[in-house]
């Protein structure tokens, strides 16, 4: 079996479209869900500020929740970055696997031993 660059390219493109597409869809869902939750918490913070003002208490705790909005945005950004690193790792390894499988099939067809995938 000869090495066919066109079919290897097509397989890489197809695999990436499916795999990376699913991973980025998951990231989009996480961002959407958490952005909505952070917005809802901002609304709760307005409500608690009104209640604190009426009761003459709670300003320290309101500051805590305001600070926590920033912390949550930071943690969301960190999670998006970490999941993007993971997606790139999976995509890269899938590409290497496809190329090496095709090369080794061609080598095997020529009666030669395959090349190990480097790590």
């Amino acid at each position: 079996m000869a090495f066919d660059p066109e079919s290897v390219t097509a397989e890489i493109a197809g695999t990436l479209r499916v795999q990376a597409g699913a991973d980025f869809q998951r990231i989009r869902q996480i961002v959407g869900t958490h952005a909505a939750s952070i917005a809802a918490q901002a609304e709760l913070l307005v409500q608690s500020r009104i209640e604190s003002a009426a009761a003459g208490t709670g300003s320290v705790l309101d500051e805590f929740f305001a600070d926590q909005l920033k912390v949550q945005v930071r943690h969301l950004a960190q999670t998006v970055a970490a999941m993007t690193v993971l997606t790139l790792e999976k995509a890269w390894n899938a590409m290497v696997g496809i190329v090496w499988t095709a090369m080794n099939a061609a080598l095997s067809g020529a009666g030669l031993p395959g090349l190990p995938i480097p790590h």
Partner: protein, 172 residues
């Protein structure tokens, strides 16, 4: 808009890491660890038990009956954070991160906790413990209003779900 700019800067880290790769398989993210996943699930469950328990006895007078549940939840979250913190970080990611930091290219959002943009779970769990302690102190001092319970619940659920989403995604 500010968040989008921040997220864009975060993407610099994975792109620079991937650019440094040669033609070989790589590991950029930590291994999936079933024990961490189990402990995180148990911590998540204990936090939700606590939220239900506190909501049923929100006054300061009701605090003593919930003190043990607070202690169990905080202890479980802190123990899980320790377990996650000692998990090895892949060498390539650790080197890439240090290179970026040395050149002043590491996005500030990635720099508050070591390895935060490779594995955000430790920083998230530290914050969950801090939120639980604040909730406990508030409950003990003067009780929890309905709004405060909603605020703590939304905050805790948001943070824990990020950690669960990331740790689950590691199973590849």
């Amino acid at each position: 808009m500010h968040f989008i700019r921040r997220a864009g800067r975060c993407l610099a880290l994975p792109l620079i890491l991937i650019a440094a790769l040669a033609g070989c398989t790589v590991q950029l993210s930590p291994d999936f660890d079933q024990r961490i996943a189990d402990d995180l699930g148990a911590a998540n469950e204990q936090v939700h038990v606590l939220l239900e328990t506190a909501a049923a006895a929100p006054s300061a007078a009701g605090y003593p009956g919930t003190a043990g549940t607070y202690a169990a939840a905080i202890g479980k979250v802190r123990a899980t954070a320790l377990l996650v913190r000692v998990r090895p970080v892949p060498q390539l990611s650790a080197r890439g991160q240090e290179t970026l930091r040395a050149r002043g290219l590491l996005p500030p959002v990635c720099d508050d906790t070591p390895g935060a943009c490779i594995a955000p779970t430790p920083g998230i769990l530290d914050n969950v413990a801090k939120v639980l302690e604040t909730m406990r102190d508030t409950h003990r001092a003067g009780g929890l209003t309905d709004t405060r319970i909603l605020q703590f619940a939304a905050l805790l659920e948001n943070e824990l779900s990020l950690a669960v989403a990331f740790e689950t995604a590691l199973e590849r």
